[in-house]
Symmetry: C2
Subunit: 234 residues, 2 copies
C-alpha cells in the first residue's frame, strides 16, 4: 500500500459502528410487541432510503432523521397492525435509534484508531441522535459530523467533501470507513480513501450478507475495527 | 432555586473552559518572540470581536475563526514589528488556538457535570479547532457545537436557539455556562438558563477581572466548574 495515510477517518454509523437490526429486534421483543421482531426491524430500515430520497429530491424540506424515523415507524406500526401504543410509547420506541448497541469490537477499535487519527462520524443520523448514542455506547469520537451539519444526506457530495473542508484537508486525506459499498463508492469517486468493514450480521442472524468480498478499488478491507487498527499500525 | 433543572449545558469555551491568555503568552515566550507576551496575547484577542462583527454585519462572507485569527495575527505581527517568521511558523502559531490549555478544574468539573447533563460546546471557534482542543486537553464533550454549524456567530440568536433546536428541547431547558456576562445576557433574553463562572485571570495575571460580582438575573454563580457541579448536585 503505497498511498499516504489519511489524517481523518470518517465513519458511517448505522450498520458499521452499531447493530441497528439486533438493537431494534431486541427492543421489540422487550416491549412484547406481537410481531416478528426481525421482520419489524427490517421493515423500519427499509423505509430509510426512500424517506431520505424525498429530502434529497427536494420533495420534503430539510427533515432530520428522528422525524423520518417517526414517519416510517407510523407506517410500520400500521403495516403490522399495532394500534395499542401511546404517543409517549411511540416516541420512546423511535428513540431506540439513539440507543443502538455497538458491535463488539467498536469501542476498542475506535479507541485504538483515535491514537493515530482524527476519528469522526459521517452519518445521516442527526446530531442529537449521534451524541446520545456516543454517550450510551461509549463511542470516543473526536467530532460528531452529520448530514444535519451539511443539510445534505449521503450520498450527496457535500457530505463527503464537507469532512475535508471542516478539517482544511484534501479529500484524499480523509478515509471513509463503512460497511456499505455504495457509500464507499460515492466517497471514492470524490477522491476520498476507503475502508470496508465486514458486518455479516447487519441484517440479522438469519439473513447473512453475501456481498462481503474484496473489491479492487477499495483501499482497505477489514473484518472489524481492530483488524483495521492492525493494518494501520495503531 | 425553584426552576426546573436544564437538560443541556452549553459551554462558552474561550476564557470559560480554556485559558487563552496564558496559553498564548506561554507560546510566545516558548518561541522566543521579542515582545511582551501578555501584550501580544491581549492584542490578538482584541481583534476578535471586531473581526466577527465584520462577518455578522455581512461585510465578510462566512469566515471561520481559524481564518479570522490568521487575519488578526498578521496585523499583530506587523504592529509588534516581527518580520522573521516563515509562513509555516505563522500557521503553527495560529494553531495555538487549537492547543489552548484548560483551567485546572475544567476536565474534572465537566466530567462530573456530564454524569447528569448533556454537555456541549457553544463556541465561536470552528469545529476542527474545538475537536483538536478537546483531544489535546481531554475535554469530554457529548457534542461539539459551533457557530460554524449555524453559520452565525454569537451573540446572534441562531446560535443559542440552535442548541435547543438540535436537541428538540425548549430554550429554558438549555443553560449557557460562560465567564462573560454579555454572552449570558444574550442567552437570558432568549429564555435560556444561565450560569456565570468566575475566571479572574482570563486577561492574565496582571489584569485581574473586576466584574465578577453576582447579578440578580443570572441563575447560578460559581467560582469554577466543580462548584457548579456541587450546586447542581452532580
Amino acid at each position: 500500500m503505497s498511498k499516504m495515510l489519511p489524517k481523518v477517518l470518517a465513519f458511517d454509523v448505522f450498520g458499521t459502528v452499531v447493530d441497528w437490526h439486533g438493537s431494534i429486534a431486541n427492543e421489540v421483543t422487550r416491549l412484547g410487541l406481537p410481531v416478528d421482531s426481525n421482520a419489524f426491524a427490517t421493515a423500519w430500515r427499509d423505509g430509510y432510503k426512500p424517506a431520505m430520497a424525498r429530502v434529497r429530491s427536494g420533495e420534503l424540506g430539510w427533515t432530520k432523521i428522528d422525524d423520518l424515523h417517526r414517519l416510517i415507524l407510523d407506517e410500520v406500526l400500521d403495516k403490522f397492525k399495532i394500534d395499542s401504543m401511546s404517543e409517549a410509547q411511540k416516541q420512546d420506541l423511535n428513540f431506540i435509534w439513539h440507543r443502538l448497541q455497538p458491535w463488539a469490537d467498536s469501542v476498542q477499535g475506535l479507541t485504538r484508531l483515535k491514537q493515530k487519527f482524527t476519528i469522526v462520524t459521517l452519518s445521516n443520523g442527526n446530531l442529537s441522535l449521534l451524541a446520545n448514542m456516543a454517550k450510551s455506547a461509549g463511542l470516543p469520537w473526536d467530532l460528531i459530523l452529520s448530514a444535519e451539519v451539511f443539510h445534505h444526506y449521503k450520498p450527496d457530495p457535500e457530505t463527503y467533501l464537507g469532512v475535508a473542508a471542516t478539517f482544511d484537508v484534501m479529500p484524499q486525506e480523509v478515509m471513509l470507513v463503512a460497511a456499505h459499498k455504495d457509500d464507499l463508492q460515492s466517497a471514492h469517486q470524490l477522491g476520498l480513501q476507503t475502508a470496508f468493514i465486514e458486518r455479516p450480521k447487519e441484517f440479522g442472524p438469519t439473513h447473512l450478507r453475501n456481498d462481503l468480498y474484496k473489491e479492487e478499488w477499495i483501499d482497505y478491507h477489514s473484518s472489524d475495527f481492530n483488524a483495521l487498527a492492525d493494518i494501520l499500525a495503531c
